[in-house]
Amino acid sequence: MRIDQLPVRSPVAGLRRRGLSMVEVLAQSVSALAPSAAVVAVPPFVMVQAGAATLPVLVVGTALVVLVGWCLTAFARRMAAVGGVYSYTAKGLGPGPALLAGWALVVGYAGIAVSALVGAVAYLVSFTGLDPPGWAVAVVTLAVGLLATLVTVRGIRLSARVALALEVVSVGVVVAVLVVLLAAHRGGTGTGAAVVDGPVTAGGVATGLVLAVAAFMGFESAATLGVEARRPLVAVPRAVFWTPVVAGVLFVAAGVAQVVLLRAAPVEVLTGDVPMAQLADADGLGVVSRLLDAGIALSFFACVTGSINALARVLFSMAREGVLPASLGRTHRRFATPAVALAWVLPVLVAVPAVALGTGARTREVLAGSLTVSALGYVLAYVLAAAAMPVFLHRIGELTRPTLVGGTLAGGLSAAVLVVAVAGASWTGSGVMVLVFVLAWLPGPVLWWVLRRRAPAVLARVGVYDQATAGSLLPGQGVRR
């Protein structure tokens, strides 16, 4: 393309440009990751699988996610995308794999939004100490989902700030609770030690690794704020890299604390719903466990807003390319948010959990099911994006040895994690969730197949981003040759 042929308008115009500060961009990644919920909920699951190898597994899982994050920064420094990992993949592997990754990402964001909504409601109920009937839980789910959608339609700025405030409070609560429990800890060993120091098997370690990686899902979602960030090519890579690093430190530290605490606890606590809350109850610190419930509920709510923000922007990107109906690419006139996409997301988001909970399914089952589905989506998207990175850099002539090695390593290891996740889900009796994922993900390959036959021109547009416009170039400069 010649520089006098640059468009006047960016293909993703309509969103509020260049408004979000570094902290607000970071808030998007942090809220979608939901660190306090992850650090409390995930380590006990890993212990059950990995036994004595729990801590090494947590460290390796963190390292793998940080490596994937580093791969994504290679894109984030070079293009300000709205479709996040979807648009990145398009620039490396082309439109077909991008649609596979993009739809996997859509399933991932939708799945995590559903499970965070269920989680928020469950911990809210636990916080109030009531035992409401199924229909009441469904109504609360509807209300919380509606509230989250309104916050996101009102503006990314508001939702980022709300989410960050909630996350700071809830991480503070979690850290305080862990410190209090460690201070009250009297040592000794309980029946939990049999699990915490349990045997190490290859299958257990692999499944534990999948769970550890799943704890970070959503860390890359700042990549959907390319248009809205004030300095996108600086802020987005920082958020995408430092979110898993800092969350990882918290994650491993909380893992160490829980290994110490749960070794001394009865094994029923370890396999219970929220081991930390039960430990606090056992220590006579009932108020602490209530506090923990409130903190995690807030974290989950922030995660709902973060996930649907990202989900709506991926759909918005697809609509602007012509892959999805153009109406999904319309923005709100006053708030400049992808309001139509958000409105389409809402019914799916609340209907699944409201129906499931209303018909009497257990919270834990819905949570685990939606998490499994979304984990498969995320990891598939990570595999494709990491593999796309060296190809992309080679295409633009900026490949170096570290990026080649890093991208290959991240892609290969994530692919291994994906295989283990699929196999593991099938072993542990949640094979039906793999089927649900495949069905939910099917539109991706179908879109590719249909567009390739019917509208190759649309396929060629896949990967739109906030590209240079005529107004961003210094007028009157020389042109090469």
Binding site: G397, T400, L473, Q477
Partner: protein, 249 residues
């Protein structure tokens, strides 16, 4: 956190020198030069060159072209040079201004615009601007400046000290929210008008002159000492701006 990049500090003179060399090489080679070509021309290690290019693109001194492998100078570079070259105005354009001066009973001026830089190039000889320099340096306080700021993505990166805007008169907008509101109005109507923000008792109307691609290339300003923006001359000023567009693009 914004505005400060700790990647390169004052203690890394070689990095700063290399970054400036990269900027200069892109200017020399011309728009469309690739990262590899820059590295070869400067004899820098490729990885270093890519990092510096990404840094300069992040700060918007450079722009990555839509093919993602070519680079060009960004509009921000105009702020470094501080001048619009060439600042010559064609005779045909001066004649258009003279015609407008004959029709309206107010001062008619022309300012050229490149990115965020304004240069007042033709001041009405009979009803001159009190201070062209103030117009060029205090974009938040003049109608011409409002048009220029309404074009950029974020005016905070263009003005000096966005959190401490100078109050030239009591009417000057100095709070960020006031400037935002003012620019939103300008974007909505497509022209700017202010009264008493630059000099007390002086109003000004500014109409954009746009090039073929819709870019702001110049501004026609109509000033009046009668206190209010001379909006009665809006249509005449717009007609002249239309005539000037092909002459100044």
């Amino acid at each position: 956190m914004s505005g400060v990049d700790r990647g390169v500090t004052g203690r890394q003179p070689q990095a700063v020198r290399s970054a400036l060399a990269v900027l200069q090489e892109v200017a020399r080679a011309g728009a469309g030069v690739t990262a590899k070509e820059v590295a070869e021309a400067l004899g820098l290690p490729p990885a270093t060159t890519y990092r510096l290019l990404n840094l300069l693109v992040g700060e918007e001194y450079l722009v990555r072209l839509p093919d993602l492998h070519g680079f060009a100078l960004g509009t921000k570079v105009a702020g470094l040079a501080g001048v619009v070259a060439p600042a010559r105005v064609p005779t045909a354009a001066r004649q258009v201004l003279a015609q407008l001066r004959g029709r309206v009973r107010a001062g008619v001026h022309l300012a050229l615009v490149a990115g965020p830089v304004v240069r007042v190039v033709d001041v009405d000889p009979d009803l001159p601007l009190e201070s062209p320099a103030l117009v060029e340096t205090h974009l938040h306080a003049s109608a011409v400046g409002h048009l220029v700021l309404a074009e950029v993505d974020d005016w905070r990166f263009v003005v000096h000290h966005p959190d401490r805007l100078a109050a030239l008169t009591p009417a000057t907008p100095t709070r960020a929210a006031d400037v935002d509101a003012c620019l939103a109005r300008v974007r909505a109507v497509g022209w700017a008008g202010q009264s008493g923000q630059l000099h007390e008792g002086v109003g000004c109307l500014a109409v954009p002159v746009r090039g073929a691609t819709g870019q702001l290339v110049a501004v026609v300003a109509v000033s009046s000492a009668r206190g209010a923006a001379p909006v009665e001359h809006l249509d005449a000023a717009r007609a002249s701006a239309g005539d000037l567009a092909p002459l100044l693009d």
